[in-house]
Amino acid sequence: MTAGRQAELHAALCDVLGAERCVTRPEQLLPWECDALTLHTAQPGAVVFPRDAEEVSRVVRACRRVGVPFVPRGAGTGLSGGALALDGAVVIECSRMDRVLEIDASNRIAVVQPGVVNAELSKRAAPFGLFYAPDPSSQAACTIGGNVAENSGGPHTLKYGTTTNHVLALELVLPDGERVRLGSPTGWPVGYDLVGALVGSEGTLGVVTEVTVRLVALPESVETLLGIFPDVVSACQAVTHVIRAGLLPSALEILDRRTIEAVEASVYAAGLPRDAGAVLLVELDGPAAALPRQMQRVRRIAREQGASAVEVARDDAERQRFWRARKGAFGAMGRLAPDLYVHDAVVPRRKLPEVLERVCEIGDRHGLRLSNVFHAGDGNLHPNISFDRRDADELRRVLAAGAEILQTCVEAGGVITGEHGIGTEKRDFLGLLFGEEDLDAMRRLRAAFDPDGVCNPGKIFPTTRFCMESNPKARGYDRVPFG
């Protein structure tokens, strides 16, 4: 951006919010150069901190006048570059819009501003016997607005669904600055399902300024089991049999041998046997009358599929210990090397064993430290690769392996992201799954909301015709300014 344009932008934004809520000096913009996918960076044109929808609307109009794009941002915990400010975009920070506006227990809904932290909402709902179901791993930091943008999931989505199943209504500032309300708190709106289209649109259709969500009753009872398996194949088979038996646990999570080793060598150690081939974590919740029999059935299935031991958490402390292994997996892998690449793809459940075998083979062939921890019930893989980005050759291998993993998942009938989104990370892989006509249909949706492409530009859609390029420089990886 030229100095003149930059000055014009600064003046326009300060005019709306005052200088104290506009950041434009390059050295101050560093924290907004990336989200949790730190491989991709880009310097925003400015960062602003509006407090309400009216201010967002005025910021958007100011951006339009100066001719600068904009991108909404939650906590920046996204893993696909969705909050990256390309083309000198203005970052609209939602952190000052962090109020829970209403917990309406009698109607089981909550109305929140987009900057409310996910875990905070459940905490506020708990006194009413309610909670907000989607629980991404980053829930202590990530925001509801960010969850809406990415249609975030979490370990309990098998039973409870993802963000899209829980958002009832939205207030949105459109890319022309107009404010509009979509959906209905009753859950039965009239007209096209615009809330459904908005959730998961990665901040490309407008800036969400208020969210009405459904709250769910806290389960009467919860049981957590940990099965120790000789290998990942038998653990996966146990999962298939659990689903096949008509059981619907709230979580079915698997850690492979490499993850177990990393966890047990870290501060997250949960006392798992280090020689286990895989660990299966099962959580059942619901009416107390139903759980004992369901637990028995799960235990029997686990034993039949080769589990050497099945532990049941006796109390909350033990449940926390079981989950510590699962939740600490990323941290444990992260301590093995300076960088961690968390992949995300989904395959039909019964394909898990063969796909995992292929994924490990791909990692080995590229000489990488790759481990797997995944939402087995959903078929949602998270291959983790620890690496050092300063090693150009290793980075090249990481990216090449990632491309092969996505290809493998698509060939198995799967998709290239289950909960992290496309962002910049996977935009050039979208063609693996969708043809030109399919992308054209998505562009029609985009154009209906944002005909000029000013809202979070450069995301989701492929930049070039699809190619399996894995030269980091050519793809704009490495710490090369992006876009």
Partner: protein, 425 residues
């Protein structure tokens, strides 16, 4: 409008076996001389391209059980039936997912999956209801409290847009954020953005045990309060409060003067169903319903031939449910109130002749009920004359400019059910 040249072009596009000329068929106020019944997606796409290029429009129909839903089409030259697109393409009993063509009747799907212990997550009324039609209409039946909204059970769709572009969205897996979620846009769009060709659906495990119970509920306020509380209990798949005028349909022994009835269906694990049934018997004097009560309730959600009727759907927040129901009852409606989900159905009988004042009174009551419930209302079923002068989707939507932009982008030539949707889109 449909001259010989256009007919020949359509016959070529859809194929001779799928093209039928007939005496003009009276349908939703149109007289349609031609039916297209493509058996493949390619033929469906070719038909739409042929229509688009000639400025012609289609009335899209699945099994026809919800054909009366929507505004009267502004124009239409052919009936486009999806019933030729039939059959199950893939079924994974281990995964509990299925892909079927749009024209497949739901009954065919149920039969294919029940043996392996699965059930469909939809229960709309109408024996001929198809998969595509159910999704296009987002049609629900009495068990939607257990099944959820149709949009939440669809994993992926094949859709042909108004200009004949064949598209795919979503996928076959249960968790997916790959690109925009266009599935949501097409479910409930009444075929005005595209014609659904096939769908991937997530199935539900068949419950181990079900039980149908009736709870007598004399006064409205107390009845709603009890019904809302019941709806929060585990295993409740139906919690429908039915007023005195409809109660005898569920329970022949119930006289209209005896007040309201709450029909509860429990479904799930045996210990839960038995425990809840005992609890409801002790606390609220629940007794077993006579056989088939849920089926009979389902029929009340659909259209009955030869019975002139207005049927509204009104949505309300739980805490405002009693107020919404009271408005409808005061206006003389037969009311079914789904307290677990916030949906009310109101059935107003009509005289045989066209009587606008009757419709007006019912319309105003539905609007008052929606306002009292902080929800919306839709006139779901009505004779043609009663729909001529109004938008059956009730209150004008503040998102209308967006709806219009979407229609314009997805069906630029106005081929698909023009005029049928909200505000005549």
């Amino acid at each position: 409008m449909l001259d010989a040249g256009a007919r020949q072009a359509l016959r070529n596009a859809v194929g001779p076996d799928a093209f039928r000329e007939h005496a003009p068929l009276a349908c939703e106020g149109l007289d349609l001389p031609v039916t297209l019944r493509p058996a493949e997606g390619a033929a469906l796409a070719a038909s739409l391209r042929a229509l688009a290029s000639r400025g012609l429009a289609a009335l899209v129909r699945g099994g026809g059980s919800r054909l009366g839903l929507g505004n009267l089409p502004r124009t239409g030259h052919v009936l486009l039936s999806t019933e030729g697109l039939a059959g199950i393409d893939e079924y994974e009993p281990d995964e509990g997912v299925l892909r079927a063509r749009a024209g497949t009747p739901l009954g065919v799907l149920r039969e294919a999956i029940c043996e392996a212990g699965w059930e469909l997550p939809f229960d709309p009324p109408g024996a001929r209801a198809t998969l595509g039609g159910t999704l296009a209409a987002a049609a629900v039946g009495p068990q939607h409290a257990g099944f959820g909204r149709p949009r939440d059970a669809v994993l992926g769709l094949d859709v042909v847009l108004g200009d004949g572009t064949r598209t795919r969205c979503g996928g076959r897996v249960v968790k997916n954020v790959t690109g925009y979620d266009l599935v949501k846009l097409h479910v409930g769009a009444l075929g005005t953005l595209g014609v659904i060709e096939a769908a991937w659906v997530r199935l539900r495990p068949l419950p181990e045990r079900t039980a149908e119970l009736l709870i007598p509920a004399p006064a409205l306020e107390a009845a709603v309060e009890a019904a809302v509380a019941v709806a929060l209990r585990p295993g409740v798949r139906v919690a429908a409060l039915v007023d005195g005028s409809l109660a005898p349909v569920l329970e022949p022994a119930h006289a209209p003067g005896e007040g309201l009835l709450l029909l509860v269906e429990l479904a799930g694990d045996t210990p839960v169903v038995e425990g809840e049934a005992t609890r409801l018997a002790e606390k609220l004097a629940a007794r077993p319903a006579s056989r088939g009560a849920v089926e009979r309730l389902r029929d009340l959600h659909g259209d009955v031939a030869d019975e002139p009727l207005l049927r509204f759907r009104v949505s309300a927040l739980p805490a405002r449910f009693a107020a919404a129901a009271a408005e409808l009852l005061a206006a003389g409606a037969g009311v079914i109130a789904h307290t677990a989900t916030g949906l009310l159905l109101a059935r107003f009988p009509l005289p045989d002749r066209a009587d606008e004042t009757c419709v007006d009174a019912a319309w105003r009551a539905a609007r008052r009920a929606a306002a009292a419930g902080a929800g919306d209302f839709v006139l779901e079923s009505a004779p043609i004359w009663a729909r001529e002068a109004r938008d059956v989707f009730g209150n004008a939507s503040e998102s209308l400019p967006l709806l219009r932009a979407l229609k314009q982008r997805f069906d630029p030539d106005g081929v698909l059910n023009p005029g049928r949707f909200v505000a005549g889109l």
